[in-house]
Subunit: 402 residues, 2 copies
Amino acid sequence: MNCEVIAVGTELLLGIIVDSNSAWIGEQLALAGIDSYLQVKVGDNFQRIEACLRQGLERSDAVICCGGLGPTQDDITRDVIAGVMGVTMRRDAAIADKIRRIFSARGRVMPENNLRQADVPIGARVMAEMPGTAPGLVCPVGNKVIYAVPGVPSEMRAMMSGTVIPDLRRRSGQSAVIRSRVLRTWGMSESGLAEVLAPRVDDLDRLGNPTIAYQASGIEGIKVRIVAKCDDEATAARVLDSEEALLRGLLGEVVFGIDGESMEVVVLKLLRNKAMTLAAAESVTGGLLASRMSAVDPAMKTFRGALIGTQEADGRPALERASSAALQARRQWGADVGLAAVAEAPGVDERAGTRPVALAVAMGSAQHSETTILPGDGPRLREFAVINLLNLLRRKLAEDPA
Amino acid sequence: MNCEVIAVGTELLLGIIVDSNSAWIGEQLALAGIDSYLQVKVGDNFQRIEACLRQGLERSDAVICCGGLGPTQDDITRDVIAGVMGVTMRRDAAIADKIRRIFSARGRVMPENNLRQADVPIGARVMAEMPGTAPGLVCPVGNKVIYAVPGVPSEMRAMMSGTVIPDLRRRSGQSAVIRSRVLRTWGMSESGLAEVLAPRVDDLDRLGNPTIAYQASGIEGIKVRIVAKCDDEATAARVLDSEEALLRGLLGEVVFGIDGESMEVVVLKLLRNKAMTLAAAESVTGGLLASRMSAVDPAMKTFRGALIGTQEADGRPALERASSAALQARRQWGADVGLAAVAEAPGVDERAGTRPVALAVAMGSAQHSETTILPGDGPRLREFAVINLLNLLRRKLAEDPA
């Protein structure tokens, strides 16, 4: 069973929009165990979309066609698919009704051409998910199939998860449940992780299930993905849980979260569990830490505030200045924990392309500080300083018995 | 003359990397007047890359193949192209030498398989640009051509601009110089811009050169792109200059910059020209303004600092609180200008999905403040508050005669 992806839209070819939909679809197909060898982008042109669809059906079992389902004259995916199926269109009364209701709920007058979105090639099935005004279509062509989904990412994702992936798995005769979990790590290199996990990877290679893979993701750290293929949901959940526990045992504190959990979300949870508040003094990070923390705590109940400004190099070493700044931030905001990052003065221990940055956490009666060598260009230095400072806080919170 | 783009890499199909290279290449082709109807992504598989190249050469005059030029066994683009050309490879001594020197300059030992990057299909020409260890190749196939460029964006871009685009234009017989300039605008809707510019667009439709087009870019504002097609550089520059002056006259202060200039870069320039310093008090924007300003002014000589924290709703209207906060920030940092953004308390003038935010600029003896209605979900509210606040400052700095 293999499936190719066709993204439709002249704006994709012109580079006005980057096609991130196909990347997401590719990831979902891989996780579902469906092979996908080719992805194509084509403009809003009848002949060229048709050629892509016909070629796709020749070399693949299924084609996912993303985009071109809107109400304007440019949106011709429906018409091309009807041509490839060799059928005409019917206007679907239920969809037409739904579109009219969406407009009236928004208090807007519906332009008549919006009803083009209710046109369905005869023989095609309408997907149950319809978050917007564009219906998704399952279009059989002989023993193969074209799926048409809108280019709006949220609508496309709902239809992929709700209809396309389950239908592809049913067609491929796969009854196994494939589930994955990502362990997020910070503070160990990819080769370091690989070395620690090598014996377990060898075991899994023999067992065949689950599998694990690494994915370096820059300032998001290195992700370790566990994929389990099982007979049912309950077994898959058990396999993921037990593998997660085993890997956490091997990796220890470098695992900071799972799946979509960012470092700031993890830190916020730990602080909330302990009913502690946080404040920061930022110089080298220039407000980036405050921006990230306040994005996940917009009411600023836990992250109380920050003071952004340069730290005058007063002759004291950066570690000492960072510690004072962390204490000052805590005092100024009446918070339980104070954080600060201060770059070492230029000329102190400079190696090519790097810069030492002092990180400090003031918590209770304890002061933790350490110097870390970071990549020295502007944006990366800031990003790395923030994630390392948050990670230091996370480790100290995890150690703290209170 | 038309050209298709093939991006090579299994990680692209699996969604581990989003293919933004093809979007950039598509934009460059469009700007150079080269038609491009199709873009394809394919994995690191000999037969499938070969099929894509052969199909590409059938339907297009040229194919740009991006990626798969690295030193590992996965990197097979060179080999596939040699197969399609029907030739063998030769090891290029000059490239081998260059690769050895790159490694020794970095103080690293070169793994022997890195010399695979010096293998060139016989009959192919090596591009002059070589910022990394992968050479770019111009590979004639009959009267058509395959260009091979690396997947590393900076290397790919240097080769596209230096060799591929000029070569495509030469092949297409185009001698005209095509140059573009983007006017960045903030504060007018796309339909508003279109209305103001309609008479000029009509004139240009008749004249044929230059052309203008709009591109809505979210919190980056709406871009107005001028494209001039002329006989030589000097004429193109003159046409762009005069069209820019004409459009600025029609649009007035909504034009904040050109090409890559962000709002914060423009504000920083204006402040530096006037030798003024800036400080901010952030509540609803949570450090995002400080983060953006300090990113363009990392030494914080002009942007002196910020105070991040919630503004207690003390019964005063948001406008009044924003004005006080702007004055306080200015005082605290001893700056010439103070900025603040304060969200109206919940319940005050709430319309569905929006929130009123008060913006204040304290400059010299003057206080400017205004309330703006912003989209009410978290990240967009913050982004829009920051850009609107910076834009208010920009307008006031432009008006200020000092």
